[in-house]
Symmetry: none
């Protein structure tokens, strides 16, 4: 279901990758003349009826590396049957994305193309997440994926990566919308995750092969994440973070926004709280989201928010009981437990090694509850 | 501003404390015949036009201990000038409570009666709070009180107690609405706190002297907590807790409901999250509440019966003028007014008794603005 022939690909790349031609102008040309090959059958004079003279002049001079880009893209497509370049008119082009105001003209995809038509949910959040935030992202994504929703995220460090990993556990699988060409992986340490997503899920990008991880790409990429999905879940986010941009885009696209609350003392929850104040739906469990989207409950396995540790187990550990669910300083814990600091420190280290407590910046400790 | 004479008190107690006479029936009788003394000047036949025969019969046979209750109540009032029994028609009866559908017929008060006319906020929550919850309750209440709001709560263990303690730090002070007679304290370990509230704030009850802490009293008492206040803040609450009853009552009374979010893994946050899902406002700081209530704009319109003295008289008071709007030490006020310390102290005491100045910890004085 890719672009059918090399000439068509060359015409699309010439239209989309000519410097100075924005998506708006490209759409105007397509609307006026038909597919890119038809656009280029017209003389520059005709283009000037539709776009400014400078853009028409740019279109008349294809970039020097266009032939090389066409060749490398064609080779990339040929190397794997699961690689595709989708155009706006392709039946495989995701329907929900098409309904947005600024759909990408070309989409590069690697993996299970049918996921683009599955009901999906975006799960995004901070790159600098807390241990509990990562666990929540993984657990919510796993539950949503088991509930049949494809989880869309951005392959970033932190919440994104945890969401992809959780989603790979369920039938819904996952789509990673990246801000680079599909022949690159950013961040590099997510190369194994990207390979797994290409095999079991789907990698997606609007950027041509070779595109490096330029900072400006990522906010623009976010409209694709929200645009693919019925709704966007923000797991943890600071104020003024990329995740809030994605949430804002989701609202503009008329999609649902969900946010997980947290301690009012946790900076990583500020963004979620801001969203809830602005009307996002507070969710405590993946089930909340499935219900809100009127989807049937996931049948398998317990919900990720089910209290994992029995009150008895918790009662059995005075340090966990004293920690509660908010970040606490060592001093606060000394006061709450009455333990000597040295003994408390030793126990905290044990709990940390067991993954039941996380050490946060600023000498804060936080409990980690597992789904 | 109490019930003016003993006969009137006796008639009120006979009406309100006759077993089988509910508040609805009592209100019907008052509407039909006028004040209780007038009610009892009519024969039982007349009462039967208004209430069922069994109730009319009950009214004709006052309870055997009525005289003793009148006597003990009269003695209780006489023992301290800061004790009051307010009836529905009393100018000191709290205006916002009067606007609710089921205002108490009698209110027993001990302390600074003027707090009943101050703009106030209810701060409630779990008896089984987390350490962070207690600290949040204390900090929010202190901030709100310093912002000029009187903090209303229920004197219970946990969040309530912490809210009262925090509120006593600010000029707004605190009102404890209890579920017992004012000659009792429940829980017993809050006896010192209750004494401090009677001295610096206000204790309030609709129950007669001697009323023990019956379980049924407390949910009923909650309508007074929410009814006195512009809004109700729930700090921490489990699902199906008394705090959620108070929040529901606040909504029914057309008041704001605020809730503090927390970890989705904390049972003590479930109630707050449920409220936010139902439309309560998520708050991260006391400032959020002050802004939501449009304060100080809200305190700019003086409630009826607020200050006995005109704004002009207040503006003309050199001590109030010297105080400004920040806490000040006695030394600073001596310097600003040029008054001898003894004279200044005497005037500050007068202003304090009038509720126009609050004495803060650390020998600080602060103006209480209601205009």
């Amino acid at each position: 279901m890719s672009v059918p022939d090399r000439d068509e690909l060359a015409a699309w790349l010439r239209l989309v990758e000519t410097p100075g031609i924005g998506r708006d102008s490209a759409r105007k040309l397509l609307a006026a003349f038909g597919p890119p090959q038809a656009v280029f059958e017209h003389p520059p004079d005709a283009w000037r009826e539709v776009v400014p003279p400078a853009q028409a002049a740019a279109l008349a001079r294809p970039r020097e590396d266009l032939a090389a880009l066409v060749e490398s893209t064609w080779q990339w497509l040929a190397a794997d049957a699961h690689r595709h370049v989708l155009t706006l008119g392709d039946p495989a082009y995701p329907r929900l994305l098409l309904e947005t105001t600024d759909p990408p003209l070309l989409l590069y995809a690697a993996g299970r193309l049918e996921l683009l038509q599955a009901p999906s949910i975006a799960v995004v959040g901070s790159r600098h997440a807390t241990a509990q935030g990562l666990e929540n992202a993984r657990a919510f994504a796993a539950h949503l994926s088991r509930g049949g929703l494809t989880v869309v995220s951005g392959l970033a460090a932190g919440i994104d990566g945890a969401a992809h990993e959780g989603a790979l556990e369920g039938a819904g699988s996952t789509i990673a919308v990246v801000g680079t060409g599909l022949d690159r992986v950013y961040p590099k340490r997510h190369a194994p995750l990207a390979a797994r997503i290409a095999a079991e899920g789907l990698l997606l990008s609007e950027y041509p092969l070779g595109m490096p991880p330029l900072a400006g790409n990522f906010p623009r990429r976010n409209r694709i994440i929200s645009g693919l999905a019925l709704g966007t879940l923000v797991v943890e986010a600071a104020l003024q973070s990329g995740s809030l941009i994605t949430a804002r885009l989701a609202l503009e696209q008329g999609r649902e926004v969900f946010a997980i609350p947290g301690s009012i003392h946790a900076p990583q929850s500020r963004g979620c709280h801001a969203l809830i104040k602005q009307g996002a739906k507070l969710v405590e469990s993946a089930q909340d989201i499935l219900e809100e989207l009127h989807l049937p409950a996931a049948s398998a396995s317990p919900p990720p928010d089910a209290a994992p540790e029995s009150p008895a187990a918790e009662a059995g550990d005075p340090v966990l009981a004293a920690l509660g669910h908010d970040p606490a300083t060592l001093d606060a814990l000394v006061a709450r437990t009455g333990w000597p600091a040295a003994q408390l420190n030793a126990r905290l280290l044990e709990l940390e090694l067991e993954g039941r407590v996380a050490r946060l910046p600023g000498q804060l400790f936080q409990r980690v509850d597992r789904g």
